[in-house]
């Protein structure tokens, strides 16, 4: 047994592997919520992304280097379209954001469009051949300690890292990021200096949707890689909790995502090692931890200064007269 089979290293490596879809989904939701729009449709958008990616991966012929990017693109477009429905309903028609987001998840979710499409496309018959495999980056995968954790992940993980860095820079260093945050904090202020509130909201809700699509593709092309209805098993909702946990910051969210990735993977890892903990307890752990963490975060005094965007959930309309 080599050093890298050490339990902690295995858990850390799989935490990143299982946390990757959470990073994408939560990062997308951070962008949407920073603009002031809650999108509870994450789970539904992820499933739309997962099913579209699965279709491309099974039905398009070609080398993996062509098929997989196409699959990701399809996932982003499908989930982005789902997000666009939510954007139209909540931004233009001022429908309650919570109800609209739930509607999106019901529409697209495990018993909705994603299942319908998977059925008529005959997915789920066989495992998906084109998958994102773990890479051996710079030949360092076998390096002790850091090898399996940092250099033996799929391309999706490296993509998620670059998106987190990019989003942090965008949010806190660029003019557009400043404008985005002002739209979420005080749309009246943004409007009065000529920033298009609706424009920023549409763009970031849809962009967030495309990220959720990638998160869904992580499941159908990497983690599960076959089709099963509802294969995301509520990870979209955990992503929503991670946004709160991370105080709407990409960097803090990343930490949370890997914590939950570790919890999700704990079941398989421990079972494989024959550790005698009930499967029920292990599988309930991520959900129970989400509740506990949310309670801790919502009672902590930090919330006062690092809290939600002030206009989150509120439709914006110019006051009349």
């Amino acid at each position: 047994m080599s050093f890298n089979d050490n339990l902690l290293i295995v858990i850390a490596a799989s935490a990143i592997f299982y946390g990757t879809p959470l990073v994408f989904a939560a990062l997308g939701e951070i962008l949407a919520e920073r603009s002031g729009v809650i999108n509870l449709g994450v789970e539904g958008m992820m499933l739309l992304g997962a099913v579209s990616a699965a279709w491309v991966a099974t039905n398009v012929d070609g080398p993996a280097g062509v098929v997989l990017p196409l699959a990701l693109l399809a996932a982003m477009i499908a989930a982005g379209m789902g997000a666009a429905i939510h954007a139209f309903l909540t931004i233009t028609l001022r429908v309650n954001q919570i109800i609209s987001g739930l509607a999106l998840t019901i529409f697209a979710g495990a018993a909705g469009l994603s299942s319908y499409l998977a059925n008529i496309w005959n997915l789920g018959q066989a495992p998906i051949v084109n998958q994102f495999n773990r890479l051996d980056v710079l030949g360092l995968a076998d390096m002790p300690l850091l090898g399996p954790i940092l250099f033996h992940q799929t391309l999706l993980t490296y993509l998620s890292w670059s998106l987190v860095i990019g989003a942090s820079f965008y949010l806190f260093r660029t003019r557009a990021g400043l404008h985005l945050r002002s739209v979420g904090e005080s749309p009246q202020t943004a409007d009065s200096v000529g920033i298009s509130v609706a424009g920023y909201r549409y763009f970031h809700v849809i962009l967030g949707g495309t990220f959720a699509g990638i998160a869904g593709a992580c499941f159908s092309l990497s983690i599960v890689p076959t089709w099963a209805d509802g294969l995301t098993s509520g990870q979209g909702w955990i992503a929503l909790a991670l946004v709160i946990f991370g105080f709407w910051r990409p960097d803090l969210m990343l930490v949370g995502a890997y914590l939950f990735g570790a919890l999700s993977s704990l079941g398989f890892t421990l079972q494989a090692r024959g550790v005698g903990i009930s499967l029920a307890v292990l599988s309930a752990l991520p959900y129970a931890m989400t509740i506990i963490v949310l309670v801790l975060v919502s009672t902590s005094s930090a919330r006062r200064h690092l809290g939600a965007p002030a206009a989150l959930g509120k439709p914006y309309e110019r006051e009349e007269r």
């Binding site: 979710g109 018993a111 509520g234 309930a284 959900y287 509740i291």
Partner: protein, 377 residues
């Protein structure tokens, strides 16, 4: 300053809401949803007309179809009331699913421990109470967390759905619990114990139509809720807390306490649905069946379509129950399982969008006047 003539739409609040509009808009939204659904079906190479006709036949018109529809409508009615009462005060309980499971677990537990020597009515009553308590407790948790720790109830109630599902699965598949059948085939293929015949809920047989007792119980629940909301002090407090929490505190109400009570009532409705599922229909704790049905999530659709009105919930539950029933009956290669959920989602989207027409008038923003333009250039 731009020379392009811009036009767009703007929403203006309606000063008055004509009565006919309040009825016409949901009906039109419903048909709009069918139209969009038809596009989805066409794109995916299905015939929309025949699909809809078959839903209509198998859901409502065929011999015995309506009885089956009431069976499908019963859980939707309960989970619809669950969402309606909670959403009305701004408590977004989307844990109806898990509360439904807990109701089923509690009610089946009581039924299984029942001897043959007690009267049937007591058995049914105790199942009702147990179901309500099971669901109520499961919903009170997010209620308390929201009221006293300001924790987002949407996520907590949803996480509890998964935990309830894991508990139910554990009881039947991963343990040798009281709920599990350990004799006969049950020893090999895990399944739940069937509850004693005496605890089975009755049906009201009208010849061509069979009405489950659970559905009647649901109607009674809806009427009770309507009276509670419109005619009582507590209903008044719910309206103030839901519409204006600051004002509620100002008037000396206790919003936290009201939220917890309403959360528990909401969960109790879902729990009753779970009890009805065990008592009236399945007669067994069936974790797989429960989780595949997704009654809790569908209840949100029901409540939203009924505009959170308890009496309208009955009507909507029957309509969606019909679609669900037809979905069961028709399930097969050219009627895939996700279709019902897709249609429900579309109906919900269209109704939400349509509701805007009740509240606002859509106004074309004035295009620019040419004369002024000329003066500027």
């Amino acid at each position: 300053m731009s020379a392009i003539t811009r036009f767009g739409i703007r929403l203006e609040p309606r000063p008055d809401r004509p009565r006919w509009l309040v009825w016409a808009v949901p009906v039109c939204s419903f048909f709009a949803a069918l139209l969009v659904g038809a596009v989805v079906l066409l794109v995916t190479a299905q015939n929309p007309l025949s699909t809809y006709l078959r839903i209509l036949e198998r859901g409502f018109l065929d011999q015995g179809a309506l009885s089956g529809t009431l069976v499908a409508a019963t859980p939707l009615l309960f989970t619809g009331l669950c969402a309606a009462v909670a959403f009305k005060i701004g408590f977004f309980n989307i844990g109806g699913e898990g509360q439904f499971y807990m109701g089923a677990i509690f009610a089946s537990g009581i039924a299984l421990s029942y001897g043959d020597d007690l009267p049937a009515w007591l058995a049914i009553l105790s199942m009702i109470v147990a179901g309500a308590i099971g669901g109520g407790i499961w919903a009170a948790v997010p209620g308390i967390l929201r009221a006293y720790f300001k924790t987002n109830e949407i996520i907590t109630s949803l996480m509890l759905n998964y935990i309830a599902g894991i508990i139910a699965t554990y009881l039947i598949f991963e343990s040798e619990s009281f709920w599990r059948e350990l004799d006969g085939t049950g020893a090999v293929f895990p399944k739940g114990k069937v509850i004693p015949l005496i605890t089975w809920w009755p049906n009201l047989d009208l010849g061509s139509l069979v009405i489950p007792f659970g559905f009647l119980l649901g109607i009674a629940g809806a009427v009770w809720l309507a009276v509670l909301q419109r005619r009582t002090r507590f209903g008044y407090e719910m309206r103030v807390v839901g519409g204006a929490p600051t004002t509620a505190r100002y008037a000396g109400m206790r919003p936290s306490r009201i939220i917890v009570i309403v959360a528990a009532i909401s969960g109790a409705f879902a729990g009753l649905g779970g009890a009805a599922d065990v008592g009236n229909f399945r007669h067994v704790l069936d974790p797989k069946g429960l989780q595949q049905s997704g009654f809790g999530y569908a209840g949100i659709v029901v409540a939203a379509l009924a505009r959170l009105n308890p009496l309208a919930t009955i009507f909507v539950a029957v309509i969606l129950g019909g679609i669900t029933n037809a979905g069961y009956a028709l399930r097969g290669p050219d009627f895939p399982s996700g279709l019902v959920g897709t249609l429900q989602g579309l109906i919900l989207f269209c109704t939400l969008g349509g509701e805007v027409l009740v509240r606002y008038r859509i106004v074309r923003t004035a295009s620019t006047s040419v004369a002024v333009k000329a003066a500027g250039s």
